[in-house]
């Protein structure tokens, strides 16, 4: 029955358009836990909007980004709703590739969106994407292991403390690794962590004249610290671990600490998925006493490509998926801990939600991230863990490859930094930022 409907709906799009039947929205999204949950809850949306059908295209993050960017840049028009992040929104909005979200409905309450997140998704004061979940990064640690080692995690640790604790906890014979950090190359993977960390070490991608800064001592300090720490206290295979790989390691009890996205908190404390659910503590991302912490800011958001014919239905869907009712719906079905976090002020004012152990740390982390002043020294760009220019995806990934190689021990830290400096310089010259 379903197959038949599908065949009808897809092969005869034109016909079904005429029959005033269901309109089908094609939604491109990433295979993260919260999105998969949303997919399972679509019956609620269909009950409220019987005339709109949803067709999901769920892809792994890199594949999704590549597909969606190709499509929007060539105006292919294959999708009606896109899942994109704070990096893409300002760049794409500037190109007129996205439609501003102006009809989200009366009870949507745009002013309820967390200010830093909303700012990141706006261009010239118009909202171009609605946040599905927002995240910063923080330290997640195993309270039992810390107790065993006689350590106490401060609420706002320093890098020195973290490194020290990681080395103490590590017990490689029993497969306990003191710290798990991202190592998989990619601008949204290891470079998100390393760029944010570098900020707290006083490093920056570019100086005010767009000169790459990888030849500066702060970067060397950052990378030395990271590589040595991972060598002593990290898991094997760290150079191919991204967010999801580390999540699996932490959930199976192999990490003492993990510094990563705040959204991970709900997964590591979920007793159904995590073997250490009741032994997790949280702390702010570490700093180095320079006034910046190593935490980032990101929001996976839903946006409407300019090419779609179904803008109205798409906006209805976005209002549903990112609205207050959706949070209630998830809370009712799966508990407050599983609500997509980091988007609305009202959620953090909700006394029910305040009971969640990671709620306060999440909002504090989000509020301390400042995309407009990310670094110790001034920079010409916006973005904490990224540089909001179109070239950054390629650049960040290429530099990420070098740093990943340094972590794997294929090259030295100095070689990696030298290559990073060279390739960044080439790219900036090629694209005309510097002469």
């Amino acid at each position: 029955m379903r197959l038949k409907a599908l065949l009808l709906g897809t092969s005869f799009l034109a016909v079904s358009g005429l029959t005033a039947g269901a309109e089908t929205l094609t939604i491109a999204t990433v295979n993260n836990g919260d999105m998969i949950r949303m997919q399972k809850l679509t019956d609620d949306f269909k009950a409220k909007n019987p005339d709109i059908d949803l067709e999901w295209v769920t892809l792994e993050e890199n594949v999704l980004r590549q597909r969606v960017t190709t499509d929007i840049a060539t105006k292919g028009g294959q999708y009606d709703v896109l899942t994109i992040g704070t990096y893409e929104v300002p760049i794409w909005a500037k190109q007129d590739w996205l439609l501003p979200l102006e009809n989200l409905g009366e009870d949507y309450d745009v002013d309820d969106l967390l200010p830093p997140i909303r700012a990141g998704l706006s261009y010239e004061d118009k909202l171009y994407a609605a946040p599905f979940y927002g995240e910063s990064s923080m330290v997640m640690y195993r309270t039992d292991l810390f107790e065993e080692a006689g350590l106490e995690m401060p609420e706002a640790p320093t890098w020195e403390f973290v490194a020290d604790a990681a080395r103490k906890i590590t017990d490689k014979d029993n497969e306990i690794y003191g710290i798990c950090l991202r190592g998989k190359a990619g601008w949204g993977e290891n470079m998100a962590f390393l760029t944010a960390t570098a900020n707290s070490f006083g490093a920056r991608w570019f100086d005010e004249n767009w000169q790459p800064q990888f030849d500066q001592p702060q970067w060397k300090e950052t990378l030395d610290f990271y590589v040595n720490l991972m060598k002593d206290a990290g898991p094997p295979g760290a150079s191919s671990n991204g967010f999801n790989e580390n999540l699996a390691l932490f959930q199976s009890g192999k990490c003492g600490m993990w510094i990563d996205a705040t959204v991970a908190a709900s997964f590591v404390t979920d007793p159904e998925e995590s073997t250490v659910a009741d032994k997790v503590g949280f702390a702010l991302a570490p700093d180095n006493g320079l006034g910046k912490r190593g935490n980032w800011l990101w929001a996976w958001s839903l946006a409407i490509p300019a090419g779609t014919q179904k803008a109205e239905a798409a906006e209805k869907f976005i209002a549903w998926a990112t609205g207050k009712d959706y949070l209630e719906l998830v809370a009712e079905k799966e508990g407050w801990a599983n609500v997509p976090p980091g988007t609305r002020t009202s959620l953090y004012e909700n006394p029910e939600y305040a009971k969640i152990p990671f709620a306060e740390m999440t909002i504090n982390s989000i509020n301390t991230a400042d995309p407009n002043n990310p670094t110790v020294d001034p920079v010409p760009y916006v973005g904490v863990q990224f540089v909001a220019i179109p070239e950054f995806q390629g650049l960040g990934t290429a530099v990420g490859q070098q740093f990943s190689a340094a972590l794997a021990g294929q090259v030295t830290v100095d070689q990696a930094l030298q290559s990073a400096q060279q390739l960044t310089q080439r790219e900036m010259m090629k694209s005309g930022y510097i002469k």
Partner: protein
């Protein structure tokens, strides 16, 4: 069996061959087994081969997330469609090359093969633009077209090598009897060429089924085949080994079963003229 062989030797060979065969097959077997475990058991150390609580939960989970049957349907339509279309175009061409060869036949054949060496990524953007303008994005017709073009050289070549083995005298005899070209094809050639055509068809269904670049990049949802289905599992979400195994098993099962059932036909023609 022309040669006598000592029983002992036969047993040794049996053991070695089975061990090697199982080793080669093991990754697939392991995937299938893991798909019936819980996530916890999937990464348990030491791993257990069969002594675990068998569960179908992963299959239900995978099906709940993406409608498997839609993807299988698309895979079948695209793989079979492109193969049939390819055969339709290739049979006459290979026929002509085999029975009326000219000096340039070999060059044409080699040129055809060299088009297969075009790296697909290099021409992705042009193809994407063409597809956009012709409305072929995310359509099965479009994918059938692309895959036909990609596999056409292999089809032509396979058929050519096969047709060439057919003795020309038979055709001449048929012509003497006054058979028309159509009759010649239907009554004389087809029966002789059938094994080769069948084998070519099977090989190309496999190649088209497994093609993962164009099928992934030119589809969104309605024409998406199994390669897109698996792309949703290509990075872990927490503990995902069992779910990945279930999705993998689902993706390869149809073609593996087809391959096994038709392996005789497949192998018979899989010689590319290498056997004289």
């Amino acid at each position: 069996m022309a040669r006598a062989i000592s029983p002992r030797r036969k047993w040794t060979i049996t053991v070695v061959a089975w061990l090697l065969g199982l080793a080669i097959f093991f990754p697939i077997l392991w995937t299938v087994l893991t798909s019936f475990k819980t996530e916890g058991e999937a990464i348990a150390s030491p791993p257990s081969l069969v002594a675990f609580d068998w569960t179908l939960a992963n299959y239900f989970e995978v099906q709940a997330r993406s409608n498997y049957f839609k993807y299988v349907g698309n895979s079948i339509v695209i793989a079979v469609g492109s193969t049939l279309l390819g055969l339709l175009i290739a049979i006459p061409a290979a026929w002509a090359m085999a029975f009326s060869p000219t000096k340039r036949t070999k060059d044409v054949l080699m040129w055809m093969l060299s088009t297969k060496m075009l790296p697909p990524v290099g021409v992705l953007v042009p193809i994407y633009l063409i597809f956009r303008d012709t409305g072929l994005l995310d359509s099965r017709i479009g994918l059938i077209g692309v895959l036909t073009m990609i596999n056409l050289p292999i089809i032509v070549w396979m058929l050519y090598t096969y047709f060439r083995e057919i003795p020309g005298e038979i055709l001449e005899a048929a012509r003497m009897d006054g058979a028309s070209l159509a009759k010649e094809i239907v009554y004389v050639l087809t029966p002789m060429a059938l094994p080769g055509i069948a084998s070519t068809m099977l090989l190309n269904i496999i190649l088209a089924w497994n093609e993962a670049f164009w099928t992934l990049n030119l589809t969104a949802s309605s024409a998406a085949p199994l390669t897109a289905f698996i792309a949703a599992y290509s990075s872990p979400e927490g503990l995902f080994w069992a779910k990945l195994s279930a999705a993998s098993t689902l993706a390869i099962a149809p073609i593996l079963i087809m391959g096994w059932f038709s392996q005789r036909q497949l192998i018979r023609g899989l010689t590319f003229g290498a056997v004289k």
